[in-house]
Symmetry: C2
Subunit: 404 residues, 2 copies
């Protein structure tokens, strides 16, 4: 345990937005405002970019009413960035931190943001810069190590489940094959969440393809044929990140861009859905085949949060500040789930290096052996994180006897 | 006024689903169940397809609880169809109606469905088949003649407004150019509804392109440049149906171009957005350009209805039955708005032929002269139809003084 440290705090948001990332921000800010050792509560605009450019805002001056309205608003209120600091930039960052007497640093984001936090923290040691350095978890992909699940995931999963619920009803009304492409480069959690859309036995999604299993177009076409032969329709949910047996993204031929973390940008294009739809049209001679790519709506749609997700996002922000003022020098906050039937979680500080860079994917026990669906274990895992979903009514459809 | 007619009723749904089309169904069914002259209350599965195949269900047997749950559920509970009856099919339809003693016929749908209803009604006269024949309005496109607005539009508009609200926040966090493609081939109402997403002065959508005005890629690029030069970002909402000055769909250019390259065949879902995004990338050298196509989510997303829309959808169903049992022989129900500041509507029976053929588009007074935005008159028109939207919080961003 380090000694009590007095100075200013700096908090920032990084990576893709989520529907509850501002809960973490506001949780941390309101908690920080309670502690005397934290003097100024500053926010950096657009992550470390705002530090480097000295674009900071005073979060002590924001009213509680404003902060609470922001907490309930999706997307990163301080602005975001996708940027990994170079060694030269780290030197610059410490110069600026020293100038503004920043002794508490909190970075909200996914594994890339955890990596940035880790780099800054490790570099601080080499220059003997004394501060508290914390990563606060956020990612709709649910792929952070150490965590049972991550803030942002539950709400994005709720959006995907609702969207597929509606899409299944649409497909039932006007039968055909519908392909929905869901976010998640390497982890299939969000794609798998679509299984929550099922209410009645014949409800879609009828096929779910996660990136954890190699995707074969041949098997996909055979799967769709089997479902349409049986039900006369088929709703497919597929991850944007599916790859073939050689690990080549199915969508890769359409994509050119990468970010500074080396991630290929897969979102925002309808190419994968169109490719799969055309395969079905051509090979199965089904005329009504449609594809939708859910895109950014999954991570920023307002008024559709999972209550559990919002609460936990707030809690990790509070916890990070609590750890920092209690003398912990660094770390990331992880959500752990207690064993047992009743949903209970607790928060734990974990080393930054454990969360940085690497990611986790769906456990094998969450995907069926056939590779085109999820297991009951996955549904048990995800239900409490997403919470209640809209009620879906269905006519009993009592047949009128045929008159001969 | 015709004499009292006793017999069975048949109701069906047709065309694209909406979030409130089941309100109209349930409104009509519950109203019909009150009237003694209507004996059986039947529903045909998948529109007139179900009539031709004699696939009918008994809606008197459905519990009120089931019906109310169905009313609150998006998409057509009886199934839908896109089909115009041939003269031969009309003859067959009357044979089946006679066999089942159908004397009350209600068809819920858009202008194509109104045309089907009109055809059946006109053909009935030639064969002296006595029945009551009504069209009940539904379309998210809001393009039915005679109507101030149509059931289904308000909820779809709410979805689009919410989606663009979130997307604007996303774009503000991670600046760049974002293009959202919205449904509506010929009418721009739904695209225009995105203007409701604006809360703060710099909020997107910054540019809105409806299909009522010819789309020029050159002007579009110049518009985006002007906005990004000013704000450092730009959110564009564009109708899927935009055409060039010669009336050629912009989306079709992309398909041709791709075919001529002999690459992958693209049929559509993301094609228009991708084309526009590429133009911006190439001509303005902006690296972060993304496109999303909202797709079917706009018409079937659960739990996001406009309350006004749901209420009016229920009311048109009730009104149609009320007209039929009151002795009116045929017609469509239109929503009219009373003049004045306070939002008030009334329902009126109008001739089927008035709704059946043509569609309406955005009045010129709803689109700015620049052709890239909507007017305050449009906002006044649409606000009460959509109702309250999520509250969007924003930090005041009090600047921390720079230390030299």
């Amino acid at each position: 345990m380090a000694s009590i440290l007095r100075g200013n705090m700096l908090i920032a948001q990084s990576g893709g937005p989520s529907m509850v990332i501002n809960q973490s921000l506001v949780g941390a800010v309101l908690e920080a405002r309670k502690h005397k050792e934290i003097k100024g509560v500053y926010g950096s605009l657009h992550g470390i970019k705002g530090v480097l450019e000295e674009k900071m805002v005073d979060l002590r001056k924001e009213s509680v009413a404003t902060l609470e309205a922001v907490a309930a608003t999706p997307s990163s209120a301080l602005g975001s960035v996708r940027k990994k600091p170079t060694p030269g930039e780290c030197v610059k960052i410490f110069g600026i931190m020293l100038k503004y007497n920043i002794r508490y640093f909190f970075y909200i984001g996914g594994n890339d943001s955890a990596e940035t936090t880790h780099i800054i923290n490790e570099d601080a040691k080499t220059v003997n810069y004394e501060f508290r350095c914390f990563h606060i978890p956020k990612t709709i992909d649910n792929d952070l190590l150490e965590n049972d699940h991550t803030p942002g995931f539950g709400s994005a999963a709720k959006f995907v489940a609702c969207a597929v619920m509606g899409d299944n009803l649409d497909n039932r009304a006007l039968p055909g094959v519908k392909i929905d492409v869901v976010m998640g480069r390497h982890a299939g959690f969000l794609t798998a969440a679509s299984a929550l859309a099922r209410v009645y036995p014949d409800d879609g999604p009828h096929l779910i393809y996660c990136p954890e299993r190699p995707f074969s177009i041949k098997r996909f076409v055979a799967d769709v044929k089997r479902v349409t032969d049986k039900l006369g329709r088929c709703v497919v949910v597929v991850s944007e990140g599916i790859t073939d047996a050689d690990g080549l993204p199915i969508a890769s031929k359409f994509i050119r861009e990468t970010d500074s973390h080396g991630n290929v940008q897969l979102s925002g294009s309808g190419a994968l859905g169109d490719l799969l739809a055309n395969e079905i049209k051509e090979q199965l001679k089904i005329s009504r085949v449609r594809a939708d790519t859910f895109g950014y709506l999954q991570r920023s749609f307002p008024s559709l949060v999972s209550e559990v997700d919002a609460r936990e996002a707030r809690a990790v922000g509070i916890k990070a500040v609590h750890c920092a003022v209690s003398g912990d020098t660094d770390g990331s906050i992880a959500i752990r789930r207690k064993p047992g039937i009743k949903y209970q979680v607790y928060l734990e500080r974990v080393p930054l290096k454990n969360v940085a860079k690497e990611t986790r994917s769906m456990p094998a026990t969450f995907i069926t052996k056939t590779g085109n669906d999820v297991t009951p274990a996955f549904l048990n895992y995800i239900r409490p994180i997403v919470g209640p979903l809209p009620e879906i009514g269905r006519l009993q459809r009592f047949k009128v006897s045929r008159i001969r």
